[in-house]
Symmetry: C2
Subunit: 241 residues, 2 copies
DNA sequence: CCTCAATCCTGACCGAGATCAGTCACGGGT
DNA sequence: ACCCGTGACTGATCTCGGTCAGGATTGAGG
């Protein structure tokens, strides 16, 4: 997965000119890598840099005063990381690489320059931010409303759909480096309950999560069970010419 | 409250030139009004228009398959309304005016033109979108994690802080047209429990919500009780010259 | 003055899911 | 071969907050 993942993602929304594409490529040239487990953005820190994931998984999370953490979102290849912190000049969350992580770095002044030179890049990035927000809302709305097993099913489907957009998953399943603790923190459950719920879904013949792989045992029934609507993830094609 | 509310809000982030300001004013010239209770955006509808609230309150919400609704955010004067729908070309939520509502209308092509002519307007709007997202995340993270009374206290404080930014509230309190049902749908509680929690906060001498007015009985103790951090709402001043 | 419809308010009951307190399988280090 | 740390897994118990089933208060309209 190289920098074209971003271009492909944004290109699905705005029709980028060669010049736009060139500026975008220049923007994401600088590469960095982080090792699993060592946080790369810290809540409360003022940071003037954002990233785009090239390979690996990360999660952004908030620490609550009582010591619990809420994972707000997982980032997979092609996703922005810390864009909100960049705009707000203050990180309201921390980011932890789940696997070893390769990213390209985006500096704030470069981003502003890019906006000046390529306005439709700005539109594209605003679109990407909107899509991320829609996902976060969809994700967080589930918490406390849907019951635990439906939440889990929905999450596994959503992640699968996102991965398939960047060719890392199919209807059969996908490789998933998350631990049950990650799932617990993301879904607002205890790890104990995560375990129970996964067992339930497995015994129902819907989906199996084992040894780092998610296997959809019965995709259609799972979609129905999870009330999964994927409209907010997809984009039919460039909407802006 | 006239269109300068937006200019003031964006101006707190990017230093707008007179030309930028002029384009912004042109963008928000068209006025419309809606009566309380009649929805103005519907979930699933493709819409090419967004609004900025001039006066009144609205709420954006999602309907869940089981008939419950989750209020995602309330919009008060100066807030965007449906910006995400505009970018995604699909509304993932509905909007209901809580009081009679006066808004200025923003059309998609006009927005794109404005981006071309005034790139720093794009930066400002991306910032506003980021701020909104941060608020939504902060808001929704509380659901299912903080306990009900803390959630309520936090919400009342946050709303007060937002209103004070547009001169509609003080440390003493504010006028609030919400019913307990609105609070229930926003905080993910039953209306019964909302009532219990409001009584508890009142009896603790922290805050009183009665007859359409929120009165902070002991602001400092309430802030402590709610673990309220207002950093994500404020902006020290223009960060971009 | 008497409905009616909202909205607010209350107590009794109950269930989903957290907490607690463990066991089991494994892999790495010494 | 042993220890120890990590993650998966299980059942018993407790509690927050939802549901149900009402009652009180208000204002609008006939």
């Amino acid at each position: 997965m190289d920098s074209t993942a971003v271009a492909r993602k944004l290109g699905a929304f705005v029709a980028l000119s060669d010049a736009d594409r060139c500026i975008l490529t220049g923007l994401v040239k600088r590469r960095r890598s982080f090792e699993a487990g060592r946080d790369l953005v810290l809540q409360g820190q003022s940071d003037h840099v954002a990233y785009i994931v090239v390979s690996g998984w990360a999660c952004s999370y908030k620490l609550l005063p009582d010591g619990q953490r809420q994972i707000v979102d997982f980032q997979i290849p092609g996703d922005f990381l810390g864009l909100r912190s960049l705009m707000l000049h203050l990180s309201d969350h921390s980011v932890e690489p789940i696997t070893d992580l390769l990213v390209s770095e985006i500096r704030y002044p470069d981003l502003l320059d890019a906006f000046r030179q390529a306005p439709r890049l700005a539109t594209g990035i605003l679109w990407a931010a909107s899509r991320d927000e829609a996902m976060v809302v969809e994700h967080l709305v589930g918490i406390g409303r849907r019951e635990a097993s439906v939440r889990m099913a929905h999450f596994l489907l959503e992640t699968g759909a996102r991965l398939s957009l960047v060719s890392n998953g199919t209807r059969d399943g996908y490789a998933c480096p998350l631990t049950q603790y990650h799932l617990a923190d993301a879904l607002g459950l205890s790890s104990v309950h995560v375990n129970r719920v996964l067992r339930l879904l497995r015994e129902e013949g819907l989906v199996t999560f084992r040894d780092g792989f998610v296997t959809f045992d019965d995709y259609d029934r799972l979609v129905e069970y999870a009330e999964f609507e994927r409209a907010y993830l997809d984009q039919d094609g460039p909407l802006l010419t």
